[in-house]
Symmetry: none
Subunit: 402 residues, 2 copies
């Protein structure tokens, strides 16, 4: 459960919270005179909120730890990421709304290419198109073995999810993906005694499915990884008494949102403006909105500082659409940093802006940048405290003790 | 036990520490141009200490959690407030120096008014005066049931404490106060099997006591809440090797101080100056002084910013009395914030000033305000670290490890 001390204090007062996550928001500069994408961007609206509200910076997981997107979002949602570990399989299945219940096992799959000796020559089957991959994956979905039920669904292009349902299954199986070419796939094996039945059934299914793909010209094999079951996350409703909605373009973020019981909203249009308009459309029906902007991270991974700055300016320009909704609390932050200099996720503290016009404390900072956030009134704190701060500033937490 | 790693490091060097708690000290401004009471107050002495020493800000309990006075003070005293939970009954009994030992049960009581059908019409019996309530509460003290001993003592006006002593009592009983009018009081019931004997005896006492008050014109009933027993807090002497004294006007703060083994000093005069003179008088006999100023909180709760500023100025003007004692460590902080804007306790970080002329580290901050504390050299830290910092700066902690 997210912090169990919160639950007895909850006061569902109908106030509304927006958590705007700019994926990979923070950057770094390695010299005093250079600028991060956030510093380079012209963001008058964010700077105004920074002047009025409180800044701070979060540690996503622990000091020095670079998070993947799953644990980074779990932390923002208030779920201690070292305690709640979601297997990749369960996360991917949730992303495409394929149910994984307790006792089911799910895994991520890639179509791949084998040579005549059964060695892998391409781990992604030449990155074949979505349309080419679809019938191959449909063939996999037909493969069944006695005693269990198997569902296989395409995610995107050569990527799919497999879910096996039956009695006595546990997900403690090793990946079959060896993460290299020139070798055969690994055999699926039980990592403990309890998983032997699952290993045997999954092994059988792999054997049958491999035969079925043997005649495919390119995608004549597949690799599985991230075996997992339902992580059993408490819902936002039970943990926070919040009717939460997710506004995101990418399956991964919808997946983790679905696992905490958020309703996944259909977007009314493309891009940032489309996402913000979606919040406007559904404003009455929910009291918590998680809005996810992906491109800040993508440009960070590409090392494209101008591109990242432009997206930040796009967000800033669209911000009035959210502000006109009069949220009680608006938090703008990232799940982790993706510095353009590093072209990857990083462990650096993440800029955090809290604006709650009735309850925030104005600090001395006057613009929304990494360097200002480091001096902000909220200090440097674990990302997993985000929901506690959101609930408090929304007036949704009663006093603790007399 | 407060941090068990402290105990082996303790070095009782005779140095002296003052912990000056300005209740509800911190405020908020929700716009850049307005001022908190602390910012509005003219406090040259505190600002000098801020220039010389270190500032910081504390999180009283956890991020976003608004504390009651009990847990907030426990944290300042070094007792993890989520671990050491003091029931209201035990705290109230300690406040009036009514012993509650392990196995006794204590509760807070209110005199109230019932109508002819036994429904509550006023939960505070029309707030009858201390003098009017005294004989009614004295009647309750006469009521006894076989097998236990009962003490009832007036706290103030219509408020009293009841302590029941006997074999096999545990405090897991529900409140009889329904927290509303127009309904009868709740029956006292056991919250688990072990509390059934206590429930039966307390029920019997309530029955008898209710008969005794039946003829009273106004206060013809009573409500009980916060059943609790001795929380068994380790003493300051055993945890810190400190001979601690409490200088406070209000029973509640004397109560929590008594529970950690502080000596409660009689005040030599009224107001802040009276409290500081009390420290002067007893300076030789103790090495730790907890001094509690209540009115900062009271004015905060009233939303009276001028009043709160004035009290802060009064404290500032009286400060030389403390400084002339040459304390080794002087900490000035609050137990929580009570922003005038919110008229209530809050979760915001609390300003913290540490002045220890031989050991503090001067930081860049030059005045004692919320916004400066947010940038202070001590950072943002849990209030429960206060005693560790106090002991360290007093030279009372040896090195950990070789």
């Amino acid at each position: 459960m997210p912090y169990s001390y919160l639950k007895p204090l909850l006061d569902n007062n109908g106030s509304k919270i927006i958590l705007l996550v700019l994926d990979g928001l923070g950057g770094i500069t390695t010299t005093p005179d250079s600028k991060t994408a956030l510093e380079a961007a012209t963001t008058p609206n964010l700077d105004r909120l920074a002047r009025e509200g409180s800044l701070g910076q979060t540690i996503p997981i622990r000091y020095g730890i670079t998070p993947g997107s799953g644990p980074a979002h779990l932390a923002l949602f208030g779920y201690e990421p070292l305690e709640y570990v979601i297997g990749r399989g369960a996360l991917s299945a949730a992303g495409i709304n394929l149910p994984v219940n307790a006792g089911d096992i799910a895994a991520r799959g890639n179509l791949c290419t084998f040579d005549a000796n059964g060695n892998i020559t391409d781990r992604r089957a030449g990155r074949i198109s979505h349309e080419e991959a679809a019938p191959v994956i449909a063939k996999l979905d037909q493969v069944q073995v006695p005693g269990v039920e198997v569902d296989v669904r395409q995610v995107k292009e050569y990527r799919f999810v497999i879910v096996m349902r039956g009695e006595g299954l546990t997900p403690h199986l090793n990946d079959t993906d060896p993460q290299e070419v020139g070798v055969p796939p690994l055999k699926v094996e039980a990592q403990n005694k309890g998983a032997e039945k699952a290993a045997q059934l999954m092994g059988k299914w792999i054997e049958e499915a491999t035969k079925v793909l043997a005649d495919e010209p390119v995608a004549n094999g597949f690799l599985l990884r991230g075996f997992a079951t339902d992580p059993g996350l408490p819902s936002y409703q039970s943990a926070y008494e919040l009717e939460a909605a997710c506004i995101a373009e990418y399956p991964m973020y919808k997946g983790v949102s679905r696992l905490v019981g958020m309703e996944i909203l259909d977007l009314v249009g493309p891009g940032t403006q489309g996402e913000f308009e979606t919040a406007k459309k559904h404003w009455e029906g929910h009291d918590f909105f998680f809005i996810h902007i992906k491109k800040t991270d993508s440009y960070g991974e590409d090392g494209n500082l101008d591109g990242k700055s432009k997206i930040l300016e796009e967000v800033d320009q669209a911000l009035p659409t959210l502000l006109e909704l009069n949220p009680d609390v608006l938090i703008v932050t990232g799940d982790h940093c993706t510095p353009c200099v590093l072209k990857s996720h990083s462990w650096h503290p993440v800029p955090f802006l809290l604006w709650a016009p009735k309850t925030h404390r104005t600090d001395l900072e006057t613009s929304f940048t990494e360097r200002n956030c480091a001096r902000g009134g909220l200090g440097t704190f674990p990302a997993v405290e985000t929901m506690s701060l959101a609930l408090a500033h929304a007036g949704r937490l009663n006093k603790f003790g007399a």
